[in-house]
Amino acid sequence: MSTLIIATAIIQQTLSGAVPLAVAGCGELLAQRAGVINVGIEGLMLTGCIAGFAVASLTGSIWLAVLAAMLAAGVLAAIFAVVTIFARVDQIVTGMAINLIAVGASGTIWELLQARGLDRLAPGIGWEPFGPGVFHQHGLFWIALICLMLAGLLLRRTRAGIIIAAIGDAPDAAAANGIAVRRWRFGLVVNAGLFAGLAGAFLSVMRTHGFVPEMTGSQGFLVLALVIFGRWTAAGLGLGCLLFGAITAIQQHCQAAGWTSFIPYQVFTGLPYVVALIALCITYGRNVGPLTLNQPWPRQR
């Protein structure tokens, strides 16, 4: 029966691991479909981590923490949006700048918190609506699922989805049809920021109940890879997140189960990235994303 216990534990961890990826991925998926790629998702998530944690430790309320996290990440995302959409600076470059700011800001704030002794969360902060077993998941898991489905429906079946696809593939045509391209892009990028902040809050407040500098540990970048791997669809993204969650869970279990005695632990820690790389290789030839990704609009003639 211990296999059942292990399997359950692995599935639980898989789902839990997939949550931040899926949440941040939802927002980024829509933004990328509209042609804006935000390499700074990593930084935005980290911002959510620290903001959520700080407010949680100050107030003890998980809801305020979530709000603060989303707000903080949203503001940073808005800055990113203004710089890339209105000042038309290159998106990749600006995204890296956002990462730098986020790392610096979060580290600074963390040190300040530590200095004031605010570096611990009251126990019991959390929200797990359903009971034990596989579905003993944090409430955010269910929200993530719903968001993913809504995103998918939005893209495939509503006019908003058509508009987003149009903005990403042919913004000139969209504008000629009366669509305020830049306003849509701005909104979607800020939305992606809100989601990233939420994912960050999940990491620090809900899952780990703590903060560690740079705790996002490249999950933001993995989100980018997953959006591509999922070929810019919600279903693909969801699948990818599950896959990733599974790999992380399995490799953690292997380490805990003592496999490190004959395989160096770095193999395990490096495994998710290798798999991500392989996944990107496999989708070769179908890597056709939105046609105007990373191209500012309107084009300079």
Partner: protein
Amino acid sequence: MNATWSSAVRTLTVVAVVVAVTVLGGAGLILLAGHPPTAAWAAIVDGVFAQPLTLAIALEDVAPLLLCGLAAACAFRAGVFNIGGQGQFLLGAVTMMALATTWRPPGPGWLILVLGCIAATGAGAGWALLAGGLERWRGVNVVLSTILLNYIAIAVVLWLIEGPFGDPSTSAPQTAVLARSDRLPVMLPLSHFHVGVVLALVLAVGWWLVESRTRFGLELRMMGGNAEAAQALGVAVPRRRLHTFALSGAFAGLAGAMQTAGVTYFLSDSMVTRNSFGYLGVAVALLGALHPLGVVAAAIFFALLDGSVRALEQELHAPRDLADLLKGLALIVALIGGAWLMRSSQRRIRGPA
């Protein structure tokens, strides 16, 4: 003449604004943390600018920042978004250590250093070419592959310094310490301000010449400007992109070698996971507007910024990550300033054809 003068003035304005924002931003944050700015300024002057020694210590970081900056700059110029400086740096560092400790061939110290640098350059180039190959033959997005390879590099290097290249005399995950004879000579005693800085400067100037005066540099700039047109004009774009990857990785690998051979003298696991010269190199490159001399200035700026924040940390217990925050801020301002410069110089030239 008028146009060049006013564009020079505008560039200087942007530079001044960037510096001002950084300084003022820092001052503001210091104020927020409860310390009077005058005390902060005194601490900085004392800790960094007062003596040649302190200045030299602050500028120790210029070599890796400059080289990683050149790595990113030459790649971005050619349209190759190599964000993998981090991993390439580490590969270079571990190669240098391997050659200088575990696999040290017999010979004088300087020979080892030279061989180590060459090998490290090759290692960095090779790691970058992994991403290049993935792009060319599997169509994998460069930004993602280089970032992922960074993390893989960390894992690989950690294993290497724990295993084959580790120091046999201790169980700690680190390499052996370099013998005195095998270290990069220092230019100012009591500091780590080593000759590598000079080499880095020379390479920066060299790259400037190559970029602006050779066919290779021209072709890289063509690719960066418009890859389709460059291809139509006869540039072998896929091949040149691979060359760019190699060059970029080479710079970063050399940075890693110099940092271990000139400053730290060994490589430990915390050094592997904590250092971020690769990513800072990207920031330096962008701040320097991808121009080699700009990258030099930006590297010096960042090094001084780091030194200042360290001084503040010592004297006033200011948070260390302040430096990163200010760097990010400077970068965003520089990006916006750059966009403004571009726009204001884009006046359409009217005229019947």
